[in-house]
Every structure is written in C-alpha cells, then in structure tokens.
Amino acid sequence: MALIHPSQRVAYPYFVVALGLFVLQVLVGTWLAVNYWASLPQWVVDVFPFSTARAIHTNLLVLWLLLGFMGSTYYLVPDETGRDLYSPGLAYLQLAILAGTGVVGVVGFLFGWTEGKPLLELPRPLDILIVIGALMFLFNVGMTMFRARNWTAIQGSLLGGLLFLALLYLFDLPFYRNLAIDWYYWWWVIHLWVEGAWELVAAAMTAWILLKITGVDRAVVEKWLYVELGLFLFTGIAGTGHHYYWLGAPRYWLWVGGLFSALEPLPIVLMLWDTWHHVKQRRLPIRSRLVFTYALGMAVLHLVGAGVWGFMHTLPQINYYTHGSQVTASHGHLAFFGAYVLLNLMFFYHAMPELKGISRFAERRGQLAFWWMSLAMLGMGLTFGVAGVLQSYIERVMGLGFMTAQAQMRFWFAVTWVLGLILLAGVVLAAVDLLTLRPAPAEEQA
C-alpha cells in the first residue's frame, strides 16, 4: 500500500525523534521519583540537583509532544487538502533545528545554562531558534493549505490552534520585573497552550482520525468539532483564572476562575460521548483494533485526568489547601498522559503502518504496551494523589512543617517510583513496537 502523497513521509523522522525523547523523558522521570523517596549523598545533589532533572523531564515532554503534533500535521495536511506539502525540505530542516535546540538545551541545563522559569527554562538564544522553527512550520503548513484552497473545519482548527500556540509563546520572551505579572503571563503560555491551543490541535487530529477509521459523515464530525471547540475555548480562556487565585491578583478571579473551570469538563464529556458514538456508528471495517483502543483510552483518561481531577483541584475552596502540592503533580501527570500522550501515540499507530507500507500489523505488543502504560499512569495518579492529600492535610491544615509532611509521604513516593518503572517498560515497548511494526500473521489478515 503506497502513500498517495509522498510528502507525508516527512512525518516519519518526526515520529522517530519524538519517541526517542519520550523514552528519555520517562527515564529522567524515574530518577526524579528516586529523589523523592531516597536520601541521596550531598555530592550527587550538588552535581545533578532535582531542579536540573525536572527541567529536563518537563522540557523533553513539551518538545516531544510538539514534534509529535508537527509530524502528525505534516501527515494529515496532504491527505486533508489533497495536495503535497509546500516544501518537504523545509520540514526536514525545521526538524533538525528543533531537535538540535532540544539537545543543546538539555546539555545546557546540565551546566546551569537556564532562564530559571519552570517549564520555560530554555535560555533566550534557544527561544529564538524555537520561534524560527515554529515560523517555518506555520509557513509550510499555511502555504500548503492556501495553495490547495480546499478549506475544511479540521484544517481551520489545526491552523488556528498552531498559530495561537506560536503567538502565545511570545509571552515567554520578555523579562518581567514583577513576580506576580511574570506568573500571570507564564500561564498565558502554559494554561492557554494546554487548555486552548493544544486542545484545538488535538480536537482536529482526533476528528480526522475518527473520519478515517470510522467512515462517519464529515458533516457530522465537523459539526461536533465546532461545538467542542466552542466549549473548550469558552471554558478554557476565562478558566485561566483558576491560576490567579493566590498570586497577588484581584479577588474576583476566585469567582471567574472557579466558575469557568467548573465547566471545563463539559467539552471533554462531549468528546468522549462523540468518540463513542462515532465508533458505534462506524461504516468501515476495523483495520486496527489498537487505534480504537487508543481513541477510547484517550477519551476516558482525558476525562479522568483533565476533567475530573481538574474540576476538583480548581475549586477555590479545595485549591486553597492543594495548590502547589503533590495534588498538582497528580493532576498534571494524568491530564498530560490522557489528553496528549495517548493522542500522539494513537496518531503514530494510525500513520506508522501506512508509512511503512503495512496494511494490518501485529498488535499484541502494542496492546500490552498500552495497558502497561495506562494502568501504571493511573496508579501514579492515585499515589501522587494520596501523597498530595496527606501533604495538604499535614502541612496546610495542621500547619506542621514541609519536611514533616514529606516524611509521611515517602512510602507513596516509593510506590510511585515502582509504577514509574512499569510505565518506563511500557513506553520502551511502545516505542520499539512502533519502530519495528510487522505485518499481522496471515490468519489475522482475513
């Protein structure tokens, strides 16, 4: 089975780099967990402190997810517009720039070259390279769409989301003198990315995959896409306020943030219902059960991690005690995994066989990897959560010291570490599986 649009092949190296960074990210994550339960010698802490490892863990996450989105976009756009990419060469150059920036960034962190802002630690010169990479990407995708002049809601959502994403990154560039203002705009990057721009990209990718694998009417899929996007942006934009409760901003943010974020689960529920509905109504034969597993797993875990956890954690009355505790870590891990990790992996599993010219692939390893990863991550969500509730109670309600609380949480960090190792095994298995897909045995082909 050959690709109709040869330029879709650009996606392959993006997926390979993304998977490699994903494995590295989770590996560093298990080291972070060791830092939480073990007592490390002072010289280890001096040479490779937690802060450095955390910067690497989070930056690799953002980089590999973005490379996954970009690769997926390059795969999706020729099919959706019916036209090859404007410039495959530019896409390869862009990958080299972004991956190179990532490598220099990680090595730089090890030597203390950092801007010192969580998640946005990359120093200014590297920020500029990221912006250049993003502009090349937008130019390439935009030119392909404009030349094709075959607009669809999926293209609009994708291009809009990517443009929004790039624009928001600009708020990271200035130096803010006032710490409160600094964090105010930090959330324009972080929150409006994951609960705004990235949701647009994710909704477009999901809608496209559902069209491809179920054969449901485009009009129906696109109608629900509009409703979901409307709800995502309605709740997500003003919902940024749930980060403004305690940073020195006016008190009305407690109301605005609380109300809008209480509605944030709505579009996610709709997405789950809509995915389920389309899968039920499918008209095409199932070519890969695994992609369906991912689609439904993503919808469920997105709802649990981002929807339910997010709902509870952003109520001001609860957030007063849980803000900046391990409850945040629990929510962050589950939400990123459910909403964006599984989305990327679903897309990879849809595109990889076609890129490799396999019509049906052997799925056993892939299924195993999915369940290992998902159950381990669900477990981690619970252990981080238990640790976070203990912390909120001991440190914030009882008023005992930070380390007194941490001592009581140590056991749960050790369990988190074990679950992290299982997660790592699942991630390695998924990465190896994706890179070495084999055709299904003949009896399954029938």
């Binding site: 830092n35 402190p49 802060s51 910067a55 010192g116 006016p250």
Partner: protein
C-alpha cells in the same frame, strides 16, 4: 442541532470568554500595583529575582505555589526565617537539611543580599491569605512588632525563630513552645543551647542559631525572662 447552530456556539463562546478575559487582564494590571506593593519593587528586588532565576531555585521550590514541589514554598519564607535565616541556609545548605538535600551553590554575598530583598518583597504580596500554613505568620508578624521592646525580642523575630517555636500561641510547632522557657532553663543554659544545641540536648534537631556573641546574650536574656 444544525451546523449553523454549532458554528454560532463556537464563535460566541470564544468571543465572550476572550472579551471577559482581556477586560479583566487590563483591570488586573491596574490593581496589581497595589496588591504587590509595586512601589517597594526597586532595583535590588529585581536583582534578587534574577538571582532566583540564575540558580533555578524555582524547579525545586515553589513560589506563590508555582514551580517544583520538591522543596518548601518560598512565598512567605522571609516571615518564617528572616534575613539571617535565609542566608544561613543558602550559604551552608548541608547544615540545614536532613534526608532531602539542597545543592551547594556558589552564590556571592551580594547576590544573597539581593535574593533576600526579593523574598522580603514577595512576602508582602497580598495572596488572599495563601498559603494556609503561613496565614498565622501574618498575626505573628504583627505581634512581634508590638513586642519590639527588647533587643532579644527583635532578634527572635528577625532570625526566624518563629519558624519552629511558639510564643503565646503563635509560631511553628516543630520545636518546643517557648512561652515559659525561662521557668525551665536558666540564662547560661539558654546561651549554650543557642551556641550549640547538641551540648544540652544530644537529640536536638535545631541548627546553631546564627547570632553574634552579643546577640546571643540579648536573646538569652529575653528568653530567660519568659516565665
């Protein structure tokens, strides 16, 4: 639902939220000047913020609740530990940590002073009474001002003793309540505790108090008088 309605939901939903958000952002910029006491935000505070970034403090510690969750929140640390308390930890972290450690950094004294100004300014941001565990320090800080009659009492507040010890119901609970310490220990013993806690109580977890000889005398006199 028709496709037309779906589009309207998208355009209206986005627009309403965006207008509300941008409007409140403008208003927040106006109010934040007072709420963060921006008039106190001088070059020294900004220099301290740069130090905070330079050593990537924020990927272990939280501040205003944001950052790494590995180490204590720094929003109100100036209230908890005071200038000397903060400096002592950053200079020699290995003496102030137990099983979870803080890296030794090559911070200059100038950088350290700037960092303290930054943290002092931060502690006065109106955070709607967050974090809960430090909310009582607001009252402590006021009580301590009222107590500023003896040198020892001032030192007790400035050196961060309230972080662990309580006086008449305010302060931390890590160390013993000192409201009536003068009834238990005499002045020379208190001085020995301040100089080297282990010399009096081999199980003490308190670090040596960062005091000069004179200051130690003043502090001991103040504490010995609490009966």
């Amino acid at each position: 639902m028709s496709a037309r309605t779906a589009k309207w939901i998208f355009y209206l939903g986005t627009l309403i939220s965006l207008v509300l958000f941008l409007g409140l952002t403008v208003d927040t910029h106006r109010q934040v000047q007072t709420l963060t006491r921006a008039d106190q935000l001088d070059e020294q505070v900004v220099a301290g913020k740069r130090v905070w970034h330079k050593f990537n403090c924020n990927d272990c510690h939280t501040i205003l609740g944001f950052g790494g969750y590995y180490a204590p929140d720094m929003t109100k640390v100036y209230w908890r530990r005071g200038e000397e308390g903060i400096k002592a930890v950053v200079r020699e972290p290995e003496k102030h940590t137990t099983w979870r450690k803080m890296p030794r950094q090559s911070v200059t004294e100038q950088e350290l002073t700037a960092l303290v100004s930054f943290l002092k300014w931060t502690s006065d941001i109106d955070t709607n009474d967050w974090p809960p565990q430090d909310a009582n320090l607001r009252r402590t800080a006021r009580a301590a001002v009222a107590m500023t009659v003896s040198q020892g009492a001032t030192l007790f507040k400035d050196k961060g003793c309230f972080a662990c010890h309580r006086l008449r119901g305010t302060g931390g609970t890590l160390g013993p309540d000192l409201t009536q310490v003068g009834g238990r220990l005499d002045r020379p013993t208190i001085e020995r505790v301040l100089e080297n806690p282990l010399s009096v109580n081999p199980k003490a977890t308190m670090p040596p108090a960062p005091l000069s000889v004179d200051e130690r005398g003043q502090m001991a006199e103040f504490l010995a008088g609490l009966k």
